[in-house]
């Protein structure tokens, strides 16, 4: 580890910590309908949208109505994207004349972008037309991110409000999030990326002569606009197959810095927004602190792993699969951040990470995408773990468990456990099936423990709605397209539905005032407890599988054996 590495990590952390309250406050204003800078720009548009869609912006919904709106809206988005891929050949903005997409791949991709996963079984430049990328994928990038935030808002309102059954208006939450947060930030980031040389055009691919004299096709397209939202919305689906390691997506160290900051920024800032919404900034900072701590643990473990002497390669700094213009530390910050948040964009090939760094990426996803996590989804996932912590440890102070005055009772705990169970079951069951079936193992790019890691990673990425891949696995097969599609669907809605049920249940309850007998959640003891519960639940569930994947791979590697 070099001083330079530490310095770069510090800059990253400092920038994140400074921007969190700024953006957090701004988002708080947006969610509470206060006037802000963008109201002047888009306020008319907001009202226009309500008018043509005949939305009563004052109407508040109960959890069931809100949930139906979420589900119907997402289903429509899925259907549109699915059909768009099936007929893209006949539609405009397809200068390369790319073919219609096969149904299983179209299903996988549509699910993937609707669920904010952005798992890519396809390669963008050879599969999808400009129209599909822009009207299909980019639109879903915005909407899936906004959906995550909307669901999160219902949970916060459930915690904050009492003796009520209303959780807000889905259409208003979606419109405001998109208009005032996602679009302005995307424009800002796009412009900054353009300044660094990220491309934005509708030109057909160019064919150039290389220095060696051979011909090479250079794919082009409207890249900057999609990269901005794929980072900000923790979507992660690259315009090109190489994602943000491609020089047209991420040309310079500065563009790299902007991108890695963008992918974590909204999720981090939402903790501050949360603090403001529930009326205690400290509660928000504690969650931010827990997330940051886990993120840094990941970064330093990964750095350690990248820098230890590797007898197989006979080197002590593993540059395989990394871009020279970013180096080890920027690759590690990115790989940890992109898996901790459910982004999944990559600037380095995760399969080539050292075994323990690969394991960090894997654990980040397996924990449930709660270390900052996806926009909205990260926070509501983390709050589920808060419920579990409060439930287990809260009893130890001699009161029935409560969080911010709300009693956590049987129904809440049932739903919270369901939301924790579903992704874990998906990962373990699908991965175990894949690891012993011919269809599963035939896609593997590597033998030995690394092969098992590839399978585990694929299903974790799907169920956790991350979308990044251990690229050794050929996932564009019917088996993987379908199973991963199911994992993504259940991994998303298997959490959203219980979360909203909890919100609907909590909002009905009265609030117990704080006293000295209250189990408080705004202090370091709680932070330690929360970290303990996250690690014990996550680690205990996956420790056996991880031992047989990355852990044993690391141990074997140290003895100089490779597969």
């Amino acid at each position: 580890m070099k001083t330079n590495d530490i310095f770069q990590i510090l800059i990253f952390v400092a920038a994140l910590t400074l921007l969190t309250p700024l953006l957090g406050k701004y988002m708080f204003n947006v969610f509470s309908g206060k006037m802000n800078l963008s109201t002047k720009l888009f306020g008319g548009l907001e009202n226009f949208i309500y008018k043509i869609l005949k939305i009563d912006s004052c109407e508040e919904m109960n959890w069931k109505k809100y949930l139906w709106s979420v589900l119907i809206f997402n289903f429509l988005g899925f259907t549109f994207l699915f059909i768009l891929q099936l007929i893209q050949y006949w539609l405009p903005l397809n200068p390369q004349g790319l073919q219609n997409v096969s149904p299983d791949l179209a299903f996988n991709t549509a699910v993937s972008f609707m669920t904010n996963t952005n798992w890519q079984s396809y390669a963008g430049e050879t599969t999808l037309s400009y129209l599909t990328q822009m009207l299909g994928l980019t639109v879903q990038n915005f909407l899936s991110a906004a959906t995550g935030i909307a669901v999160m808002l219902t949970l916060i309102r459930g915690i904050k409000n009492k003796l009520d059954d209303k959780l807000g208006n889905f259409w208003v939450d979606m419109t405001r999030t998109t208009l005032y947060i996602l679009i302005p930030l995307s424009i800002l980031v796009s412009v900054m990326l353009l300044s660094q040389g990220v491309i934005q055009n509708f030109a057909p691919y160019e064919t150039v002569k290389t220095i060696e004299g051979s011909e090479q096709v250079i794919p082009l397209g409207p890249v900057a606009s999609q990269v901005a939202i794929k980072q900000l919305g923790t979507n992660g689906g690259g315009f090109f197959n190489a994602n943000s390691s491609h020089p047209f997506e991420n040309p310079t160290p500065f563009s790299n810095f902007i991108e890695v900051l963008s992918l974590i920024l909204i999720s981090a800032s939402l903790t501050y927004t949360y603090g403001l919404m529930i009326g205690s900034k400290k509660e928000g900072w504690i969650l931010f602190g827990v997330m940051l701590f886990l993120l840094l643990c990941g970064i330093f473990t990964s750095l350690y792993s990248e820098y230890i002497f590797n007898p197989v390669l006979s080197t002590a700094s593993n540059m395989e699969g990394k871009e020279v213009r970013f180096g080890i530390v920027n690759s590690v910050i990115w790989s940890v951040s992109t898996t901790a948040t459910s982004c999944g964009a990559v600037n380095t090939m995760h399969s080539s990470l050292s075994p323990l760094a690969g394991m960090v990426a894997l654990i980040n996803i397996m924990l449930g995408e709660i270390v900052f996590g996806g926009v909205g989804s990260g926070l509501y996932g983390m709050i589920l773990f808060v419920f579990l912590t409060v439930f287990i440890a809260g009893l130890m102070v001699g009161r029935t468990p409560e969080y911010l005055g709300k009693k956590i009772e049987a129904f809440d705990i049932k739903m919270a456990m369901l939301a924790v169970l579903i992704p874990n079951i998906l990962i373990l069951v699908f991965a175990s099936v894949a690891s012993i079936s011919e269809t599963g193992t035939s896609s593997l790019g590597n033998a030995g423990p690394h092969g098992l890691s590839e399978i585990l990673y694929a299903f974790s990425s799907g169920a956790g709605n991350n979308g990044s891949a251990f690229a050794g696995l050929n996932a564009n097969t019917v088996f993987y397209n379908i199973t991963l599609g199911i994992a993504m669907l259940l991994g998303r809605f298997g959490v959203i539905i219980p979360v909203m049920a909890i919100a609907g249940n909590l909002v009905k309850k009265n609030k117990t005032p704080v006293s000295k007998g209250t189990f408080t959640t705004d202090n370091y003891i709680f932070a330690i407890l929360l970290i303990g519960v996250i690690l014990i639940v996550g680690a205990l569930t996956h420790f056996p599988a991880l031992s047989l994947g990355p852990i044993v791979e690391h141990l074997i590697m140290k003895s100089g054996v490779a597969f």
């Binding site: 287990i392 130890m396 102070v397 117990t512 996956h542 140290k558 003895s559």
Partner: protein, 699 residues
């Protein structure tokens, strides 16, 4: 107090209880019973599967002593958990048995249209009327409708001093099985046979109708969900293992055997809390009974832990029942002796503690002795609610009548004005001053003149202030309820250290106050006895009715205090908290244990993988405890897992020690003991067991 003493003497494990409990732990293996406890049910299924495998092996002529030992310890795990529950139940049953014995089968004297007929007490119906005279045992629960009697209620309260029961008012309820000591009363029966208060208490103590409490249900859901997670983790292990076997060039038959998988599963699922959860609940009820409080539901005990506002009646709870005279304050131009004399004279016939305290004060401070001064020709004027005065009229030799009166300040003022006297401004000031000091002023007047003021002071119970300070530390707000005026109330509240008070309170004010607190999200506890307390008792989250109270009050509350001691509320809160803490601590301990068990079992399973030419593969580095063989490692983990249940039974019956501290300190202490301790203990325990079983070479 034999009822109480018997309990105090009872040991944690009485031989008779243990004997029955051992028998019952086998009876509880019945899957239909065990299915209510999902964690232990899974263990039982695992034990069954292992047993079947052992027998299949034997039928094939193979015998695996390792599997046999695993199987035995798995069964022990279930039995130990059953034993914990059985012991807890046994202790409750022993108490119920004691109560049942103390209740005699009686013959009732049924009273119909003036005639008495003798019938079996068990045949009495609701609304029947019976006669009870000195020496009779009251045949069933009822209400005195005529007469007054002293009753020995020691059968239920353990208190040998008799209590007065009379018709009308708040002392009319009588309980079946208690004994009339004097006089004769008519009693209207208020319960159907088999449904009397005693029957209810007995069935509650026996735990016959025990239902899981809300928090217990929630906890069961959580540990069941954890069980599912671990079930999936264990079930998906063979495929991963199979992949790894192939990758290491080993043969498929080397895959993990089912008994080992079952052992791993049982070690991982939260068996400790799963096995002890119901014992903790039952013994919570038990600890309450030891304090002579019967909860009509487990839910109430849980709620007691959550209480953050307590409504306490001033009299009897915060102050001693009686007020004492502490001072005579003269009006202008009156001599001290005159006031003392008049005060004594007006109190001669006053048999109340207040009256006696006035005479005592006069004797001690002014050497006024009533016996020397009792004149002849006196008429006593008793206290009446209408005049709010009492006093004496003394006719002297000349036929002149001295009229001495004492009473509430406003009553005397009106009396003086009616007699065309003058009520001095100075006295008015004195009255205000005395009130503001938390004392009650009684004004003494003779004829048209005001002599002065007697200061009657409420005596705040010793130690109550410290008690309230403790409650404050626990985050509980205390509200004093009193009929006193706000000035007096404020002063007593300050002296006793309560947080708030409700002065000049009428019964309906209690209800309003409770509703208000609940509206703000507080959980309110109160203790009461009168019929007019019933609505408030019913509204409170925990309403404790005193056993001496009316039937209405007893039915409205969700707990009954057999000792009728108003300070009990505080103990009830502690029992509630202790119950919840015990649950939380053992859950934390149980989950924290898993870390060590992984480090015991996984390396022994994975040691063969990727070993290639070497003896052990790379994953044997996870064997940080240096357990000797794979078999001994797995067996040690299973044995530890079973034995820890037995070791924790005393703790779950007695409860984790409760310290009256703020939440944060309690959390720190328990987190350290049961969280950190829960991670470390099994490392030590498993290592020791491993050393032992290798020393005696059983694997």
């Amino acid at each position: 107090m034999h009822f109480k003493m018997k309990n105090k003497k009872s040991k944690l494990f009485e031989p008779t209880i243990v004997k029955t409990a051992v028998f019952n732990s086998f009876k509880k293996l019945n899957p239909a019973v065990l299915v209510k406890n999902p964690v232990m049910f899974i263990v039982e299924i695992g034990s069954l599967i292992t047993t079947v495998i052992i027998f299949l092996d034997i039928s094939k002529g193979e015998f695996n002593s390792f599997n046999l030992q695993i199987g035995i310890w798995l069964w022990f795990t279930v039995l130990f958990a059953n034993f914990a529950e059985a012991v807890a139940e046994g202790r409750g049953k022993a108490q119920a048995e004691f109560l049942r014995k103390s209740r005699k089968q009686t013959v009732a004297r049924k009273f119909t249209n003036g005639n008495e007929t003798l019938i079996e007490a068990g045949l009495l119906r609701k609304n029947d009327i019976v006669v009870c005279e000195a020496g009779d045992v009251i045949p069933a629960d009822g209400e005195v409708i005529d007469g007054v009697a002293s009753v020995d209620e020691s059968a239920i309260t353990g208190e040998s001093a008799p209590v007065i029961r009379e018709s009308g008012g708040d002392r009319s309820a009588v309980t079946g099985g208690t004994k009339v000591l004097s006089d004769r009363v008519l009693i209207k029966i208020t319960s159907e046979p088999g449904n009397t208060f005693m029957d209810k208490i007995i069935s509650l103590i026996e735990g016959a109708k025990r239902q899981k409490t809300p928090n217990e249900i929630a906890l069961t859901i959580m540990i069941a969900a954890l069980t599912i997670i671990f079930l999936i983790a264990v079930v998906t292990l063979p495929p991963f293992y199979s992949y790894s076997l192939n990758a290491s060039g080993l043969q498929e038959p080397g895959n993990i055997s089912i008994p080992i998988l079952v052992a791993l599963l049982v070690c991982l699922i939260p068996t400790t809390i799963g096995g002890l959860l119901s014992a903790i609940g039952i013994s919570g009820m038990d600890r309450l009974i030891k304090r002579n409080v019967i909860a009509t539901s487990g839910r109430a005990i849980e709620a007691a832990g959550d209480l953050d506002v307590l409504l306490l009646d001033k009299t009897g709870t915060i102050t001693l029942g009686n007020r004492m005279a502490t001072d005579f304050i003269i009006a202008p131009e009156v001599r001290q002796e005159n006031l003392a004399d008049a005060a004594v004279l007006s109190s001669i016939s006053d048999e109340t503690p207040e009256g006696r305290s006035i005479i005592k004060l006069a004797k001690e401070k002014y050497s006024v002795h009533p016996k020397e001064m009792i004149p002849s020709n006196v008429t006593y004027i008793p206290f009446s609610a209408e005049t709010r005065m009492s006093g004496i009229n003394i006719k002297d030799e000349n036929g002149n009548i001295r009229k001495i009166r004492k009473g509430a300040a406003d009553a005397i003022e009106r009396y003086i004005e009616l007699s065309n006297g003058k009520y001095p401004e100075e006295v008015r000031d004195t009255v205000r001053k005395v009130s503001s000091e938390g004392a009650t002023p009684l004004v003494v007047a003779e004829d048209r003149n005001v002599l002065g003021v007697i200061r009657l002071k409420d005596i705040v119970k010793g130690g109550i202030r410290e008690r309230f300070a403790q409650l404050r530390k626990m985050g509980i707000k205390t509200v004093m309820i009193t009929g006193d005026n706000p000035l007096t109330a404020a002063a007593i509240a300050a002296e006793a250290g309560v947080d708030d008070f409700l002065a000049e309170a009428k019964p309906e004010d209690k209800l309003t106050r409770i509703r208000k607190e609940q509206g703000e999200g507080h959980l309110v506890g109160m203790i009461g006895d009168g019929t007019n307390d019933a609505p408030a008792l019913a509204q409170a989250d925990v309403g404790i009715a005193m056993n001496s109270g009316t039937q209405a009050a007893r039915e409205a509350g969700n707990m009954v205090d057999l000792d009728s001691n108003p300070t009990k509320l505080i103990e009830v809160v502690e029992v509630g908290k202790q119950l919840l803490i015990t649950r939380g601590s053992l859950t934390t301990f149980s989950i924290a244990n898993d870390v060590a068990k992984y480090f015991a079992i996984l390396p022994s399973l994975f040691a063969v993988l990727y070993a290639f030419e070497k003896n052990t593969g790379p994953l044997s580095v996870l064997n940080i405890m240096q357990l000797q063989t794979p078999q001994s490692a797995i067996l040690s983990a299973v044995i530890f897992n079973a034995i820890i249940i037995i070791l924790l039974i005393p703790l779950s019956l007695r409860g984790v020690k409760y310290r009256p501290l703020g939440a944060e300190q309690i959390l720190k202490i328990n987190l350290f003991i049961y969280g950190v301790g829960g991670v470390i203990a099994p490392f030590v325990g498993i290592k020791l067991i491993d050393l032992l079983i290798n020393a005696i070479k059983i694997v």
